[in-house]
């Protein structure tokens, strides 16, 4: 008898899931609709998907190994065997570009994996507690933002020693203030709302309020911002490796490929041109997607289109 009742309850609970979440479902449907309605966002999404597929399945897609040298086949022009030609060590450029997608995405993901939690932690602390904690964190952020990003990343990268790992650390150190500021701003505006006051009146601890009430709202704002920054991260990393202060050979890094290919610009134009085009395309894709997501998440635009 009891089990029957429980069963019925459970079935009701399942059946009413759609009803209880109807606003979220319609919200999600609208988001999908808006993305599909915006051709530029779709193009961006497609570029990112292709990049991701290239990165994950590189060993199966790439026709050749990205680092093995074939000195008898140096600087071959694009042909059927090597669609984008070969570089100064006889390596297939197409294969190196395919493997390079993995390097670029790895940089983006690791930088954000450092900066999002760091920014949230510092921003929440600054916004929620205020006072001298806020003052110290935000002034430090101001100081870090007073350097042009590439210059600071170059300086940190050089001091640590040029390598792909240090490039990621350096870029992460230049980007955290953006996220800390955003998280702080969100926290400040949420903190004063009535529902937080109600929580506090109920005796909820600071920690619980931060984690369960403020954090979720911050995360969505920061993710929108992060998609806008992804292209920039790739561009800065490429700039650093182009200057010789980032990834080192034989890493199939796009910026590095342009850098070494520079010497062959005139007679073997394909060596620096194709990897550079890959950078442009990847950054372009991320920017399109970022723009699209920003527009879609903007409540003004959303209501305007309904």
């Amino acid at each position: 008898m009891v089990s029957n009742l429980a069963k019925e309850n459970f079935q009701n609970w399942i059946a009413s899931w759609g009803k209880r979440h109807s606003s979220e479902i319609s919200d999600f449907k609208e988001t999908v609709y808006l993305i599909r309605k915006s051709p530029l966002t779709m193009v961006g999404l497609a570029v990112i998907l292709i990049l991701t597929i290239m990165a994950i399945f590189a060993p199966y897609i790439a026709p050749y190994d990205p680092v093995t040298m074939h000195l008898d086949n140096r600087l071959a022009s694009p042909s059927r065997a090597h669609l984008l030609g070969t570089d100064e060590l006889g390596r297939d450029i197409l294969s190196r570009i395919i493997y390079g997608a993995g390097v670029a995405l790895k940089i983006v993901l690791i930088v954000l994996a450092i900066d999002l939690p760091l920014g949230i932690l510092l921003g929440l602390a600054a916004g929620y507690f205020g006072g001298w904690i806020d003052e110290i964190i935000m002034r430090t952020a101001d100081i870090f933002m007073a350097f042009p990003r590439l210059i600071l990343a170059m300086a940190i990268g050089t001091a640590l020693g040029p390598s792909l790992r240090n490039t990621m650390i350096a870029i992460a150190l230049t980007m955290w203030p953006v996220y800390a500021r955003l998280a702080r701003g969100e926290t400040l505006s949420i903190k004063e709302r009535t529902f937080i006051e109600a929580e506090r009146a109920l005796g909820t601890s600071n920690f619980r309020i931060l984690v369960f009430n403020i954090l979720p709202i911050c995360i969505s704002t920061l993710i929108v911002r992060a998609t806008l920054d992804m292209g920039n991260i790739i561009r800065i990393a490429a700039g650093m490796s182009f200057l010789g202060l980032g990834a080192q050979p034989p890493t199939p890094d796009w910026g590095l490929m342009v850098s070494t290919g520079r010497n062959f610009l005139v007679n073997q134009w394909w060596v620096p041109t194709f990897p550079g085009f890959a950078i442009l395309l990847a950054v372009f894709g991320f920017n399109l997607l970022g723009d699209g997501i920003r527009d879609i998440s903007d409540p003004h635009l959303r209501r305007g289109r309904q």
Binding site: R139, T140, D142, I143, F144, A146, F147, P148, R149, L150, I151, M154, A155, I156, T158, A159, L160, G161, G231, R235, A238, G239, F242, L243, G244, L245, G255, V258, R262, L265, V266, W269, P272, T273, G276, F277, I279, L280, V283, F284, N287, L288, D291
Partner: protein
């Protein structure tokens, strides 16, 4: 307003102090091995010690820091190990070259960015708008060094429209130093051939930097204009029977121009960064290339000098943007 200005100035001082301290940390506390880079890894111990003494690297960190601050106040960074000259003297030569480049690029970016942005907003969703949106998105996605290489390949090797690099042709001597900006100095001295030659050398890098910044300014102009064009008073102006030109320039653009001005200020800061890549590609002897070369040869004093100067300029341009913003928009109260 006065209170805001004072607050902002105090922040500026704090930021500069912080910048200087971070630069010290980066150069003295976490460095790769600068002495090893100069002398090679197998240098004899005595030589290494002598070099360390010369650079002051053997002192305790606190003393190094005070020595470093004292040097900064006198704008004395010591001698560059790469060029064997005073770093401050090097900076005096290379810095104006970059300012000249940045100003020319900014001029290009302002002219094209604003006009394309306005056209784009007025012809919203028609083909000029779509074309300009793609153009500016490509622009902000463009790696500056790669665009520079394409320019060199096409404009230098194939068309011969731009020179190989440098600030002046070898046959032309630099104009008498007044501001350090060759364009300005050559006009002051009345040397028109030098003027054209300097402009000719600036063209390539200025177009690369300029295009990328055009993209940013164009985007901001477009979105700001779109916002204003939707306002009621624009409709009123049109209903009144004013000419479309008057409506767009006098009523709309004036009110849309504050974000654009902010963006122009920010652009100037970006250019200090962009100059690093552009100057390296074009072989243009400016601050950016000087910085890169000092980084690559771990030339400590030159690194500190160039990073400090770049950061101060950047912070200064941010300060000006903030103050201008507060002064221009009567709705903003502090």
């Amino acid at each position: 307003m006065v209170k805001y200005v004072i607050k902002r100035l105090i922040l500026f001082v704090i930021v500069i102090f912080g910048v200087v301290t971070i630069t010290f940390f980066i150069s003295h506390v976490i460095p790769a091995d600068p002495v090893g880079a100069i002398l090679g890894e197998n240098a004899p111990q005595e030589l290494v010690e002598k070099m360390e003494r010369q650079l002051g690297l053997d002192l305790p960190l606190g003393q190094q820091y005070t020595r470093y601050l004292k040097g900064l106040i006198n704008w004395n960074f010591g001698i560059s190990l790469r060029t064997q000259k005073q770093v401050s003297e090097d900076l005096r030569v290379y810095f104006p070259a970059t300012i000249e480049l940045a100003l020319l690029a900014l001029l290009i970016a302002i002219i094209f960015g604003i006009s394309i942005g306005i056209i784009s907003a007025v012809k919203r969703n028609q083909w000029p708008d779509n074309a300009s949106r793609v153009f500016s998105l490509v622009g902000i996605s463009m790696p500056a060094f790669w665009l520079g290489l394409l320019f060199i390949l096409i404009l230098y090797y194939h068309l011969g429209l731009i020179p190989a690099g440098g600030r002046l042709s070898p046959s032309i001597s630099s104009p008498p130093m007044v501001s350090g900006l060759y364009l300005l100095d050559s006009l002051i001295a009345g040397q028109f051939r030098t003027f054209w030659d300097a402009l000719y050398h600036l063209l390539g890098p200025a177009l690369v930097l300029g295009w990328i910044q055009t993209a940013y300014i164009c985007r901001v102009t477009r979105s700001s204009m779109l916002e204003v064009l939707n306002e009621e008073y624009i409709r009123t102006a049109r209903v009144k029977g004013l000419k479309e030109k008057v409506v767009i320039f006098k009523h709309a653009f004036r009110n849309a121009s504050i974000p654009v001005l902010t963006m122009i200020g920010i652009s100037f800061g970006y250019m200090l960064e962009g100059s690093v890549l552009t100057e390296t590609v074009f072989g243009y002897p400016g601050l950016g290339r000087y910085a890169v070369n000092s980084f690559l040869s771990l030339d400590l004093n030159a690194v500190i000098g160039s990073v400090t100067l770049i950061a101060i300029c950047y912070a200064l341009s941010n300060l000006i943007v903030d103050l201008l913003y507060a002064a221009l928009d009567p709705r903003i109260k502090y």
